[in-house]
Symmetry: D2
Subunit: 364 residues, 4 copies
Amino acid sequence: MSGNSFGKLFSVSTFGESHGPAIGCVIDGCPPGLPLSEADIQPELDRRRPGTSRHVTQRQEPDRVEILSGVYEGVTTGTPIALLIRNEDQRSKDYGNIADSFRPGHADYTYWHKYGVRDPRGGGRSSARLTAPVVGAGAIAKKWLLQQYGTVFKGCMSQLGDIAVPFESWEHVHNNPFFAASADAALIARMEDAMDELRRAGDSIGARIDVVAQNVPVGLGQPIYDKLDADIAFAMMGINAVKGVEIGAGFRSVEQKGSEHGDELTPDGFIGNNAGGVLGGISTGQDIAVSIAIKPTSSIRTPRRSIDKDGKPVTVETFGRHDPCVGIRATPIAEAMLALVLIDHALMHRAQCGDVRVHTPRIA
Amino acid sequence: MSGNSFGKLFSVSTFGESHGPAIGCVIDGCPPGLPLSEADIQPELDRRRPGTSRHVTQRQEPDRVEILSGVYEGVTTGTPIALLIRNEDQRSKDYGNIADSFRPGHADYTYWHKYGVRDPRGGGRSSARLTAPVVGAGAIAKKWLLQQYGTVFKGCMSQLGDIAVPFESWEHVHNNPFFAASADAALIARMEDAMDELRRAGDSIGARIDVVAQNVPVGLGQPIYDKLDADIAFAMMGINAVKGVEIGAGFRSVEQKGSEHGDELTPDGFIGNNAGGVLGGISTGQDIAVSIAIKPTSSIRTPRRSIDKDGKPVTVETFGRHDPCVGIRATPIAEAMLALVLIDHALMHRAQCGDVRVHTPRIA
Amino acid sequence: MSGNSFGKLFSVSTFGESHGPAIGCVIDGCPPGLPLSEADIQPELDRRRPGTSRHVTQRQEPDRVEILSGVYEGVTTGTPIALLIRNEDQRSKDYGNIADSFRPGHADYTYWHKYGVRDPRGGGRSSARLTAPVVGAGAIAKKWLLQQYGTVFKGCMSQLGDIAVPFESWEHVHNNPFFAASADAALIARMEDAMDELRRAGDSIGARIDVVAQNVPVGLGQPIYDKLDADIAFAMMGINAVKGVEIGAGFRSVEQKGSEHGDELTPDGFIGNNAGGVLGGISTGQDIAVSIAIKPTSSIRTPRRSIDKDGKPVTVETFGRHDPCVGIRATPIAEAMLALVLIDHALMHRAQCGDVRVHTPRIA
Amino acid sequence: MSGNSFGKLFSVSTFGESHGPAIGCVIDGCPPGLPLSEADIQPELDRRRPGTSRHVTQRQEPDRVEILSGVYEGVTTGTPIALLIRNEDQRSKDYGNIADSFRPGHADYTYWHKYGVRDPRGGGRSSARLTAPVVGAGAIAKKWLLQQYGTVFKGCMSQLGDIAVPFESWEHVHNNPFFAASADAALIARMEDAMDELRRAGDSIGARIDVVAQNVPVGLGQPIYDKLDADIAFAMMGINAVKGVEIGAGFRSVEQKGSEHGDELTPDGFIGNNAGGVLGGISTGQDIAVSIAIKPTSSIRTPRRSIDKDGKPVTVETFGRHDPCVGIRATPIAEAMLALVLIDHALMHRAQCGDVRVHTPRIA
């Protein structure tokens, strides 16, 4: 409850720093009887882990997960599931130069002023590395939701800097290093060129990521104030570097009229999905559709003005191994966060209302 | 913890339905010793209440607040503060026609499927009327934050449908019926015309609202995952009809480079505010800057296709008294939600780290 | 979450002071579809209310409850249920003499030092009057548990000062002013004499109360650390004036051998109930059996040494209307608290494990 | 929040099973700036660990603790502190015979019916081994409370079966294998004989443990319902095998008169401590005095009647390595739980009321 747990009934308490001995989490509230082993979790971690292409950080972390508890003879027992991932490729010296000054756009400044002490190695706890335990927990949530309701999660990058990536099909997402839902080779090449250019320039860039959940039961969400969409916004804005969140039509709603925005209903289901799958804070059975804005990485080689701990002006250039676009690896993270929100609300719904009443409404 | 409370340490538990006997809330965790009376709360409720111009619902609710507890001889005692607002102008018959069918874009459908029972009078608990208790609680939060840190809250409408409202000065916000930070009479007239036209057409429109908090202490926020910005996103997305939330540069971050986005620091403070006052989930001392997208009201006179409880096709037209743009009254609500997030994090910070270390950094 | 809420999933947030305008609570998480009206709640409040015999405080409070929300057409809707009880017979002048000094054994001293401000009228929030909203909430919990599982709650006074009250039958509890499970007229007369003597002497006395829940499903409780028995201990020790809690054999366990204490099992059920219905923090299906020690009232006419706010020695005599044995009215309170714990764990169980597997095991 | 976390602001989430790969916990909310290393924690674990005398289980567990996070250069950083203890001496075969039947007085029965699946090795999660992580967390709480307020914790066994152990002095506690606060060699010998006899007989026995906290600030506790004493009762009843909890005079209060029970105040402090350091749910500055009843171990060699999973009658005899009196090792556990309650309330107090007002009142 003190800030490092996520979720009320499927509660994930994370720990660890980028360059400490290990990172991990304790998952409390997983329903018993779910078949589970490391093999269910590792593939999701592998989608997120560094070093998979030249466009992401070259830190070599196998991110090998170990289940320490909560599973007996291959089945969850209902007791807490602890996940442990040892850090293996820490090069703390890479970061020595920023221990006493603050990178513009980075949490260095705020951690220092909040706590009066700061682990500067690799960003300490503010590192995007700390999304790994959440992705692990999300894998368990995904498995349960799939088994229970047939829910599936999909995500893609829909914009890289000023390059829009039109959606073609989910099947393309894993065929390129950007999670682009596109088979347009020229577009992918353009993205690669843009990334290569950035890397040479020592700069970074933002991105937009879209995630959806399909086959979501109707009725998930506590309408005020633990709304499903409010919790989704919380989860997404909590991902490192996210600065904006939209559900359904999002900011396009501003210019819409009511006669255009409200998704009409027919006996065959909803027509359209401006709602993004949530009305009044409760799931409708439409796809949950979320879009997030990810800012450019703050650790860049380009020299920038800043101050040191004593308030003296300094110039900061960040060396070390960083993602020039943290958005690239954000897709599996956003999927995991969405899964964690949904399982939590599924359990909350079951507590108050018993089993789900309406499962898969037909969608027109 | 069951869904109707907001905040962990300054915790607001609301109750009530649009046409029930009363609405209100219990505020738990207010620091003792704060001078407080109804006169501190009523003005904020008056900013939000219906019937103040022809552009909002004509329901006549005085929204008179009564403090039931937690205050002794004009000072808070540290015990729960209960706020009670009696409903006075319920015309339940206005809503009889929608008791058995679902308005497109409205929570009718989801409440019904979640609970199997629904109070259809005026939208029941899904009514925007339920933001009143939160505005009341927010008034208390604002008073404490002002006294403690000098924090102030400001908000305005920055877009109405396709009409952008350029920011001129906060002083204009209360001189027009739209919370526009503009003294441009032609612009205000254009907004009035647009609203009149919508009302005639029986339609509704969306809006964008901006809110800021100034003089925020450095260091508020629990970095993962109860980040300050995550909680702001939760609070804002939890306001009725909100579909998008941005902090600082928001979705503009997608196209920014790192060398452009990261706010540089000088001994005199930050240069710029792409961060929106939050880095790594912790406040920087810059203004907290938030922008939200509000969808058009779903209760409109325009006939629309829908279904009834039995899944049969119906045509729905909503009569009764509704805001043609719920965004108009959203500004004080968004300010209140932001204040509630900040006081909660201020208390949380005090718990773990003791008194605030850095209060008002000079901002360049 | 800030201290004035009870329960996680059936969460009761109370408010009010003894001599403020009103007391009450917000109940969040009640399952929808439960038939409910004030008539379900009032009888439980009447069992607890003052003025029912000469052995309890003569304050005349009708304790009339009003449901403000969460019920539509006689059925709970799943939204928060607010209960309001107006205070009617406050005579604040009765308490004026203790506004600046501290009654020995009373919360005066601690409230003052904690908050730096204190509502001294009738004990303010520390008054036993604040158990009324909880009894109201407990009535709803009882109704749901009865409907869902057939669970029933019973309680009695088993000791008044040094007078032991041997258990005969639950049917006698409502036939005497002490909640004694006895039809022994001589014993009841002895209790009446003892109380009359105390009242004359301006003194007070302690009591022991036993409560049981019957027909409890097997499996309720989160084993470490939200154990069912831990939450029962929390609930019971939270009742005003309680200084000790036992489950099952309680302190008799200290002298028991393992071969004597562990309740053997047969195909027909458990033999004995040293466990008090809980093993490893989870309900067994045996009766939940709890016993509590209630200290003597601290507000007595007998002069006692104390200090005032400035630390100066004073003599304190408390006039006004007080219960000479707060234990007398504690039985319905303890039942209510037990019901609140059980419904919370029933909902929590349903969240994680789905519907109850084993309902009513046969008990030998 | 799902049941395996303890504390709201200094929140300890534990994980692990008796015979799984590891046990441990994540401590969330520890204030930054506290000097900390494994050397602060290991001594408390050593006081609790098995194998230290012939009167406790002979399982050989070094209980070596590793800090995985939250500490940088020997100082806490304010981020979560993860503690890991690998299990080393699991002999799962010892327990094979009870995998399909239920030990009388043991959690076997309830875990099975709750979850439908159970880790039977060494009692799985219901093992007293799971108190080790809590003792580790308690060591950190103790260190902070000592540094901040001078608070110290002491505990002893005051009764072993029917052998009362009169309190002489805290200094004796560590000079005998029973945590007896006595230097009476004859008494200790009698206790040793009693234990030897029990072990030969294959039986077990209960015990009473007393713990106190000294130098506790005035004002800790949220009066209704997160009372300090309610949380202490929760914490104590949550320790394995505890069946009763008393604060101060406890069950002796039943026979006390008000004129006897209420601790009088003088300018030099309180006279007596019937309150046990808590009035109205808030600490008084007197010693916090708690007494608990611990039932006899349920795993005994003596044959007992039970049933198997199919409800068939069986005879159960438990072999393996068990404590014949779990009370012996309970003293450090009870101290740790008390420390965890106090730090949580200290932080909660700081959140709402700022720094402690009255620290160490002189006690007469």
